[in-house]
């Protein structure tokens, strides 16, 4: 296994540099923190110099995922990059997967073909399957090689594929059905890592009694953070700014200094 050691302004910065050096997407590297100022949190929020050792875990992760599928025992990875998702499908995901596929409509088949056409340009082997269809959405799943490439950095490629598939299929409003694109449970894993990040940041906000701003998230990611912290009375979440510059701020609520709910609340 090849290791690189890099230093960055923040943990994320260091991780991104390492990924570039290794030539693999950020999701595909494992990291070990060698030195950390102790102030940075996920690189989203300040911090000083961070030194990390990184390696590609492309193969090991794929193996791990296979095991997850077979045993449904969520294994733990000792150290993961912040963006790397937790490979532990929840019970509901397992239930969803075992749901009957149901009759695929013409629309779903059309969506599958459109996505297959797009994916074909990126990988010869990848195939698209209709995973689920309800009255308002069609869930498509990509199978095959080039997982890292097809998912992309922070799901960028997957999001682009999903966005374009929606545009191409839902040309007329009346018969529109939301199309969701997933690969190797990436969405679920991303949601879990966002939730745990939200809970951890929420605890930090309560402890320090200072708001924390999270940048570089899309609407869907922000929504997950909002929903995760919604039931925590000691916290308030807001999105500020416009377009690409939109940020999410977690505020502490209530001045009662004696009323500290450290580590409590925060919906799971």
């Amino acid at each position: 296994m090849r290791f690189v050691e890099v230093e960055g302004k923040s943990k994320r910065d260091a991780i991104e540099k390492a990924a570039r050096e290794l030539g693999v997407p950020v999701e595909e590297i494992g990291i070990e923190i060698l030195s950390d100022s102790g102030r940075g949190f996920f690189g989203f929020v300040g911090g000083k110099k961070v030194k990390v050792r990184a390696w590609s875990k492309r193969e090991s992760r794929e193996k791990l995922l296979d095991e997850v599928m077979e045993t449904e025992e969520p294994p733990r990875i000792e150290q993961e990059a912040e963006v790397s998702p937790d490979p532990a499908p929840s019970a509901s995901a397992a239930r969803q997967a075992s749901d009957e596929p149901g009759e695929a409509t013409e629309k779903a088949e059309q969506a599958r073909e459109v996505l297959q056409g797009l994916v074909g340009w990126l990988s010869e082997q990848a195939t698209v399957e209709i995973k689920e269809e309800t009255s308002e959405r069609i869930l498509l799943e990509i199978h095959g090689d080039k997982t890292g490439l097809l998912i992309g950095k922070r799901g960028q490629t997957l999001d682009a594929l999903q966005f374009l598939a929606n545009k191409m299929v839902n040309r007329s409003r009346d018969s529109a059905k939301r199309i969701e694109v997933d690969m190797e449970q990436y969405r679920k894993r991303r949601e879990q890592s966002l939730r745990s990040m939200a809970v951890r940041l929420g605890q930090k906000v309560k402890k320090k009694r200072k708001p924390i701003t999270i940048e570089a998230m899309n609407a869907h990611d922000r929504r997950i953070v909002h929903l995760t912290l919604k039931n925590d009375r000691a916290l308030e979440t807001k999105s500020v700014g416009k377009g690409e510059m939109r940020k999410l701020v977690i505020h502490p609520v209530g001045g009662g200094r004696s009323k500290r709910h450290e580590g409590s609340g925060a919906a799971t």
Partner: protein
């Protein structure tokens, strides 16, 4: 890769616009970089660019990935 990145852009554009017959894509090849010039009908510009440029960004993301496969860089220019 059988199809070229030029064909990818043409395919995407033709599905997204109202006037596919007016879609033109020309490729200007450089040493490592290709510039793809996409021309569409005037009323289709919005469809290609999208709200906040989201469609254009999505097209570029897919394009860059497809180009990386053949070890090239691609720049997409959208021209009215």
């Amino acid at each position: 890769m059988a199809e070229s990145v030029r064909e990818l852009v043409e395919y995407l554009a033709k599905v997204l616009v109202d006037h596919p017959e007016e879609v033109r894509v020309t490729e200007v090849e450089g040493e490592n970089t290709s510039v793809l010039e996409l021309r569409v009908a005037k009323d289709d510009m919005g469809k290609i660019i999208g709200k906040q440029g989201r469609t254009a960004i999505a097209i570029r993301t897919i394009l860059n990935n497809a180009a990386a496969k053949v070890r090239r860089r691609c720049v997409l220019e959208i021209i009215e």
